[in-house]
Amino acid sequence: MILEVNDLRVEFPTRRGTLVALDSIDFHIRPGEVLGVVGESGAGKSITGMAVIGLLEPPGRVAGGEVRLEGRRIDNLPHEEMRKVRGRKIGVVFQDPLTSLNPLYSVGQQLVETITTHLPLNRSQARSRALQLLAEVGIPGAEARFEHYPHQFSAGMRQRVVIALAIAAEPALIIADEPTTALDVSIQAQIIALLKRLAQERGTAVMLITHDMGVIAETSQRVAVMYAGRIVEIGPVRDVIHAPRHPYTVGLMGSIPRIASQRTRLVQIEGAMPRLNAIPRGCAFHPRCPRRFGRCLAERPELLPAGASEAACWLHAPAAA
């Protein structure tokens, strides 16, 4: 197990009270596995990624639970320690390739710097490794492009460079936060194919955060669906997409437009995701749920087994109770 997150809780103390951004999150990722984390804005998926790599914006903080990387706890490490772990063991790919790269240094320089910081290689070894990485992520003419600056690359190429930087130190885990959202659909297809290939070839665990279910369908083995700071469903991708067990996932899948020869009315979930300061008691989804009943208003559901997945919904409670 590369990444284990147990009962993670993230809070934001504000002068009007404490906001709970993540409420008891549990999941794990195995080597070579891609876990998709999907949810709409405000669900907490980016915060989950930030909490794992220890980059929560203050005043946000981890208020409970633990994060383990290769068995070792990382959520309570001092800053220096975490910084070393972050570069060496965890690679990060953010949404906007333009701001992820330093515009003042050439792409080659940034790669070499990352490599020499985390691996025991001298500069010329680092350079050849960097060239290798650039070729591996599909940048043609890597030799020539080594000296180029980020602004001289197109958006898709820049994202490839960011991916190269992320895998440069041979990390055990890659966290990709909306890596393709800012890209055109044809480039998007190329990037997700690249991420998938890299994960398989290197046995890296990947946490892919996105709002786009299609991207997850293409890349992930398992998917976690988040809502209002909680995981409401988690399971193998095929099951969650084709046979969703949580009413929110059902609504979500129904509202995704697909290329069809006929125009059909999309399923719409009434209302909107609650804000962090107004999360309902019991099941956070109950005000919008077409299948709610008494228990949903009073008790918050745990993740319960539902077919091949798990869903946090009282509909799946064992019959005896």
């Binding site: 804005s41 297809a189 709002h211 786009d212 129904g254 290329i259 006929q262 125009r263 999309l266 719409q268």
Partner: protein, 308 residues
């Protein structure tokens, strides 16, 4: 009945460097051809969608239609009375200092559509029509979510009693479940009020939900124009095929897909002949020299020659 026609419309933008730099570095003036001889027709009551990736010129076409830009060449003919526009960014399309009721009332006041006394009533009516409540008029935009703001934008557009509604990526900034609400609303309004839509989007799946006819744009040109059902089941232009192939497969049917080649070239320096030829698997000599013009609504030599 023909409502809108674009006849050989082009739009250039002057992207030259400042005068002083040009003089010192001896650079010529540079111009970007964002829209290149586009022909379009829109019938009353239909939804025409324009799809394409970034830089293809679809947003510029939208602005040419409503008159925010003037065409450098060609004509825009509008046979209706009024048009309105809905924009992509729900956060920038409403004035943060104005109350919602003033935002929605603006077109009514400017176009003098109601008498002073009935403006308030009409605003309430519009707010309810888009799924909000009449009291929401008192609030400011920041008190609403993205989806609700788009509803306010739609109410504002409807206040202008338009024949044609140009929608520039109206749901691209919204969550998928909110998007579904807005798309359903727009379809419903179209049926109820007999509106005509020009719908701009980069998302093919969304377009397949709302469009009657679809135009595919690439680097300022319309490369294919067809009825939605036709386009999605039997795409003819190589770029359309590539685009459809690239859409992530939610069905996970596992079907084999042709890998996508290359990237969109720099619009300042487009390839000669057919602008798509560097990425096209079917390109040959003629494609590198000669620009293809639409034949049967597809601008492709290979299609015309029967090679694909």
């Amino acid at each position: 009945m023909l409502l809108l026609r674009l006849e050989s419309v082009s739009r250039d933008f002057d992207v030259s460097r400042p005068w002083l730099n040009r003089v010192i570095e001896r650079e010529p003036r540079r111009s970007l051809r964002a829209v290149d001889r586009v022909d379009l027709e829109v019938q009353r009551g239909e939804t025409l969608a324009l799809v394409g990736e970034s830089g293809c010129g679809k947003s510029t076409v939208a602005r040419l239609i409503v008159g925010l830009y003037a065409p450098t060449e060609g004509r825009v003919e509008f046979h209706g009375r009024r048009m309105q526009m809905i924009f992509q960014d729900p956060y920038a399309s409403l004035n943060p200092r104005w109350r919602v009721r003033d935002i929605v009332a603006e077109p009514i006041r400017i176009l003098n559509l109601e008498s002073k006394n009935s403006v308030e009533g009409r605003v309430s009516e519009l707010l309810v029509q888009v799924g909000l409540s009449a009291d929401d008029g008192e609030k400011y935009p920041h008190e609403f979510s993205g989806g609700q703001r788009q509803r306010i934008s739609i109410a504002r557009a409807l206040a202008g009693e338009p024949d044609l509604l140009v929608c520039d990526e109206p749901t691209s900034a919204l969550d998928v479940s909110v998007q579904a609400q807005i798309l359903n609303l727009m379809t419903e309004l179209q049926q109820r009020l007999g509106l005509t839509y020009v719908f701009i989007s980069h998302n093919l799946a969304v377009v397949s939900q709302v469009a009657d006819r679809v135009g595919v744009m690439y680097l300022g040109r319309v490369v294919e124009l067809a009825a939605a059902a036709e386009l999605f089941s039997r795409p003819r232009h190589p770029y359309t095929r590539m685009l459809l192939d690239a859409v992530p497969d939610l069905q996970m049917s596992g079907k084999a897909r042709t890998p996508v080649a290359g990237e969109v070239p720099n619009p300042l320096d487009p390839p000669a002949g057919c602008t798509f030829h560097p990425r096209c698997p079917h390109a040959w000599e003629r494609c590198r020299r000669e620009r293809p013009f639409p034949v049967n609504a597809v601008a492709c030599h290979a299609v015309e020659e029967g090679r694909i």
